[in-house]
């Protein structure tokens, strides 16, 4: 799965808003999501399609309804790939600093 698609999907305020809406209440129908957005049903469908292609949203059928769920797994993958390594570096800098300071003290 391509992380390009995740970043592209996130580079749009409407799609981030959709993720926020699903975060507040998971498993919503298209109709329900449209109530909170000032745009046509068609546009919302397109945005949801891009989010689904990036695997940030998954859908399941429950009876006659299609429900949308936020899928944070690709975000976790992005975190592991892009954020954790900077954190690790910062932590090791702090660690070096501590060693240095403690050495000076003794």
């Amino acid at each position: 799965m391509d992380q390009d698609e995740v970043f592209k999907a996130l580079a749009d305020p409407t799609r981030r808003r959709l993720l926020d809406l699903l975060c507040e209440e998971n498993g919503q129908t298209l109709r329900r999501l449209c109530e909170d957005l000032d745009m046509t049903r068609q546009s919302v469908t397109q945005h949801l399609g891009l989010l689904e292609a990036a695997n940030l949203v998954t859908t399941t059928k429950r009876g006659r309804e299609k429900l949308h769920f936020i899928n944070p797994v690709p975000l976790q993958d992005v975190y592991e790939r892009w954020i954790r390594k900077f954190e690790t570096q910062r932590l090791s800098l702090l660690h070096d600093l501590k060693i240095q300071l403690e050495k000076n003290e003794s």
Partner: protein, 154 residues
């Protein structure tokens, strides 16, 4: 009054085979490597399963029953905190669906019947993305994340 229930659906695409993903969920020596816990059961319908923390205390954190087993494509289990084993209302249900995909494997984890506002809801909604990301990393690179809560060596 019955409590309101909610569901989560998580999907991860993993460069692996359905057999390896199924094993990674059901074999304790593999779950330990990316989940910080061992999933222990004989994986027959009706059997009990336990989620045992991989530390010195080996505390049982979660328990449940095996509902359905169809290796390597499907596993359904019930799920509750070990201290709530005797409370039928506390149980939620987890379905693992493993399908071959152009990329390798599509793993879909559906967690149903979670009580809205419960500690379990909060815990699993934080936990699953981490566990699935760690599983993917473990199968693709051989290294999962350390989720055991063990103190790190300095």
């Amino acid at each position: 009054m019955t409590a309101e229930r909610t569901s989560f659906v998580y999907v991860s695409y993993i460069a692996s085979t359905p057999e390896k993903v199924f094993e990674a969920i059901t074999r304790p020596e593999i779950t330990r490597r990316y989940w910080g816990h061992e999933n222990v059961s004989d994986w027959t319908p009706g059997a009990r399963w336990q989620h045992v923390r991989d530390d010195d205390a080996r505390s049982v954190d979660l328990v449940g029953k095996v509902v359905e087993v169809t290796p390597p494509n499907r596993l359904v289990i019930t799920w509750t905190g070990a201290s709530q084993e005797a409370e039928p209302d506390s149980y939620s249900r987890v379905t693992f669906e493993i399908e071959p995909d152009a990329y390798g494997v599509r793993l879909c984890v559906t967690h149903d019947d979670l009580i809205v506002g419960s500690q379990m809801e909060a815990g699993v909604s934080k936990g699953w993305p981490l566990v699935l990301s760690s599983l993917k990393s473990c199968l693709e690179t051989g290294k999962g994340f350390d989720l055991s809560g063990r103190a790190k060596a300095a």
